[in-house]
Every structure is written in structure tokens, then in C-alpha cells.
């Protein structure tokens, strides 16, 4: 589905990741962890094509991102839901409109979509804020909105960068529950997080693999968690 092949990534200076190969199989659930600044966000950006690898290849649904034209990349993004670490929205549209935005761009909103949107807002606890502008949301509310937007387009892959950093433990578990349900429906999930409790909680319910970035390599964390 998505695959890194001998990827080296650097921002001008020394490399952040060297010769990394990882496969994200359909229906798998991956956690991505590692100290702050290790390159978790960088890895996720490679997975949805915001970055192109300095060396090596990133295969997105069988095509190398380096070979994709911009518009092809844009269309590929409709199959990948992304929660960015800094949640960016269109500041002049309401929360509900922002969450529906990817669908609107891809085509028309069906009544079923509207129902999904309403349900989703209830699940992430934002039903009462659906008319608020992004600037009027709290930090945690923005993160939940970003997750809702990523899920809304019914993507095959969901990449979430620290989606629970600003929410309380109860809400974090609720969001995790949502992702686990989606994974059970066959979606591939990659979740970057610092919260080891969250990873432990997930492991009781789903077969999740934990990837740790260390020494510019992506390692599979063993039973230590």
C-alpha cells in the first residue's frame, strides 16, 4: 500500500533518516514513536508526499511519489486522511464546512455524507461547536477537528501526527477507539505519538506494531512496551 524503499531524508544538513525501508500493509495499525525532533513528522510527510525523499523511493499505492505530478499527488491525497501536527484550516469557513472540505473538493456532498458528518462531530465531542470558526476553537478542539476532517473522506490510509497531544486522557481513548474501529473496517492507520499509555491501551484491543525512530533508523520496538 505505502512503502519506503531505502529512503534517506535530510533537510540540507546531516540526514535525519538513512536508508530506511518500511512497509505499511493494508489494514495494518502502526504506532510511530521516538524523541521530539527524531523525524516522526518528517516520516509521515514522506508517506503522503508533502516531502519527496532525498534518496530512495516512497511508493504510494504502487507509484513512486517522486514520479507523481502535482495533480496526481493531489488526487492520491484523497485516499489518505492526514492529521497534521499543526492543524491548518480555512479560517473563514465554519468547523463543519472545514471538515466537509475534502469531500466538497472531490465532488458533491450526499445526504449520507451529512449524516456521517453529524455522527462524527458527536463522536469527537464537537457537535456543539460545529458553527464555530477555527480561530474560536481550543487547542484540543482543533486536533479533534483535524482528525474528523481526515476521517471524513473515508480514506484507505489514515496518518495522524500527535492527534492526542492536547486532549485529556478520556478524549484520547475515545479518539483511539475511533481509529481502532476504522482499522477493523480495513483501513491502514499510522499514528505518531509520544504517549506510551495510549500505545499500551491500543495494544490490548488491536494488533499494533510500534515503530521507533532511533539513530536515523526506524526500528520495530519489541515487548518493551
Amino acid at each position: 500500500m505505502i512503502e519506503l524503499q531505502n529512503v534517506t531524508q535530510s533537510y540540507g544538513g546531516s540526514a535525519l533518516l538513512t536508508d530506511v525501508s518500511v512497509q505499511f500493509a493494508p489494514g495494518s495499525f502502526h504506532f510511530l514513536t521516538g524523541p521530539s525532533g527524531a523525524g516522526k513528522s518528517t516520516l509521515l510527510k514522506l508517506l503522503y508526499g508533502e516531502l519527496r525523499p532525498t534518496r530512495g523511493h516512497v511508493q504510494l499505492f504502487g507509484i513512486a511519489s517522486t514520479n507523481m505530478a502535482r495533480d496526481q499527488l493531489a488526487r492520491t491525497r484523497r485516499r489518505i486522511g492526514v492529521v497534521h501536527q499543526d492543524c491548518r484550516f480555512l479560517d473563514h469557513l465554519s468547523l463543519a464546512e472545514n471538515i466537509a472540505l475534502p469531500l466538497q473538493i472531490a465532488g458533491q456532498l450526499t445526504p449520507a455524507d451529512r449524516q456521517n458528518l453529524a455522527d462524527l462531530l458527536v463522536w469527537v465531542g464537537l457537535a456543539h461547536r460545529s458553527d464555530a470558526l477555527p480561530a474560536e476553537l481550543s487547542g484540543g478542539e482543533r486536533q479533534r477537528a483535524a482528525l474528523a476532517r481526515a476521517v471524513m473522506i473515508d480514506p484507505e490510509v489514515i496518518l495522524a501526527d500527535e492527534p492526542t497531544g492536547n486532549v485529556d486522557w478520556e478524549m484520547a481513548q475515545r479518539l483511539l477507539q475511533l481509529l481502532i474501529e476504522l482499522n477493523k473496517m480495513g483501513k491502514t492507520i499510522v499514528l505518531a505519538t509520544h504517549d506510551l499509555n495510549l500505545i499500551r491501551a491500543a495494544k490490548t484491543q488491536v494488533e499494533a506494531r510500534v515503530l521507533r525512530i532511533r539513530d536515523r533508523q526506524v526500528q520495530l520496538a519489541g515487548a518493551s512496551l
Binding site: 508526499g49 508533502e50 516531502l51 519527496r52 502535482r70 495533480d71 493531489a74 488526487r75 491525497r77 484523497r78 492526514v82 497534521h84 491548518r88 484550516f89 480555512l90 479560517d91 473563514h92 469557513l93 472540505l101 475534502p102 473538493i105 472531490a106 476532517r149 473522506i153
Partner: protein, 296 residues
Amino acid sequence: MTSLLDFLRGSQGDGRFVPPSKLTGRLTLAAAAAMSFLAVFALVLTMAAHRQAALWGQTLAGTATVRIASPHEPEQVQAALVILETTTGVNAARILSEDEHAALLAPWLGPDLPLQDLPLPSLIEVELSPDGIDTLGLNLRLQAEVPSATFDDHSRWRAPLIDAAKRMRNLGWAALGLTFATLAVMVALSTQSALASNKQEIDVLHLVGAEDRFIARAFVWRFTGRAVAGALLGTGLGIIATLLLPNDPAAGSFLTALPPNGLGWLVPFLVVPLVAAVAYLATRVTVMRLLKETTL
């Protein structure tokens, strides 16, 4: 009407993904309006200069005089008339009556001079066609058949005014050219800069899967709409300003009215499609450049 308003607001197509006018967005409208206003004004003045030049050229270039020095020889005058009537470029030729002759000379001779007693030359007033006349050929023919006749196309008097008219016209064009160039630059720049302040929105749209075409269309319509609204506003104000210009030169004076006449009123509206085209191109180029800049 609603659809025009929609268009101007940019809500047609994908305009709702474009943030409504911020301070920087209003700039496009204002720049288009201000520059259209100036352009209309320059256009009206250039048109007036053209008409003025034409009027001066006509009034002065349209007539000439043939003077037959030997007085009291009507057959010579008739011969000259025949020659004139068969010359291409001459619309009409007419012997000046004695009263007209007297009026011409009055400033220098006084009104009371007994002209009939004087050995005055006869004068033929020649009305020229605007295509001009072969002065050399006419002079040669006159010299051959009516040696006492002299053709005078008033060029000595005409030259400075023709010069002035020509220069006025040229300056009009220069000013017009400069105004339109500035118009294009300002509309393009303000559109670019307003757009640049929407970089974040462009990024977000791209990140959630919008293709370049989609983004470009959304912004192009919105900004072209704003520029057109500004151009309409500016053109309207410019036309109002034109109407306030002095309209009635004293009858028979050398001056044309300043505002255009008849279909001439349509010309200032050409500013609107021009502004639209400039805004369209500037938006398209800038959006595409901003899109290319994002690696995302």
C-alpha cells in the same frame, strides 16, 4: 443580475473556498478602480485632443486662397476657377464677394475704405478635401495659364497650430500609454499581493486534495471579479468626472467639447475588459507560481 453579482462576489465556481476580502483583498478592487478612473480620464482627454487636432487641421487646412493680382480681369479669374475645379483635392472654389473682402481687410484698413476704387486683387476661396492637394502641380498649372494667380494654402499661419495639435495628440497618446501601463502594473501587483496573503488557504486546499486547476479557478474568478468590480466603479466615476468637465466651448471657437460624442462614449468602457484581462492573467500566473512554490 443575481448571477452577475455572484460572479463579482466570486461565489460562482469554487469561490467559497477563497476567504472573503481582507484588507489586502480590497486593494485589488481599489487599485482597479483608481487606475480605471485615471485611464478613463486620460482616454477622454486623448480623444478630445484628437478631435481638437482634427478641428484645427480642418479649419485651417480645409481652405486656401488664390489671389489674382491683376484687378478687373474677370476672364483670368474664370480661367483660374476652371483650373481649380478640375484639380483633384479641391472640393469647391468660390470668388470672394466684395463684402467678404472688406470684412477680411477691415482690421488693417478700417471698415470705411472704398474698396471698389482700389486696384485690389481678386480672391478665390478654395475649399480643400481632407485628402490634401498637389500644391506643386497646381502652382505649375496656374503659372502656365493664369500667370498673375498665386496659390496660398495658408501654411505659414497653419504651421504652428498644426504643430500644437500634433503635439497635443502625441502627448495624449504618451500619457494614455503610461496610464495604461501603470494600470496594468498596479492591477497585477495588487492582485499578486492580495493573493500572496492567501498562501495559507492555498496550502490547505492543496493538502486536502485539491488539484491545481481547482485552486487556480477558485482564485482567478474571485480576483478577476474584484478587479472588474473595481474597473466598473472607476470607469463610472471617470465618466461622471468627464461629465463635469467644461462641455460648451463658445460657439465658433477653436475648441471642441471635452466629453466624447455619440459612440465615443463607449470607448472608456474598453477599460473594463482590459482590467479584467490583466487581473485574470496576473491571478493565474501568481496562483500557479505560488502553487509551484509549495513542495507539498
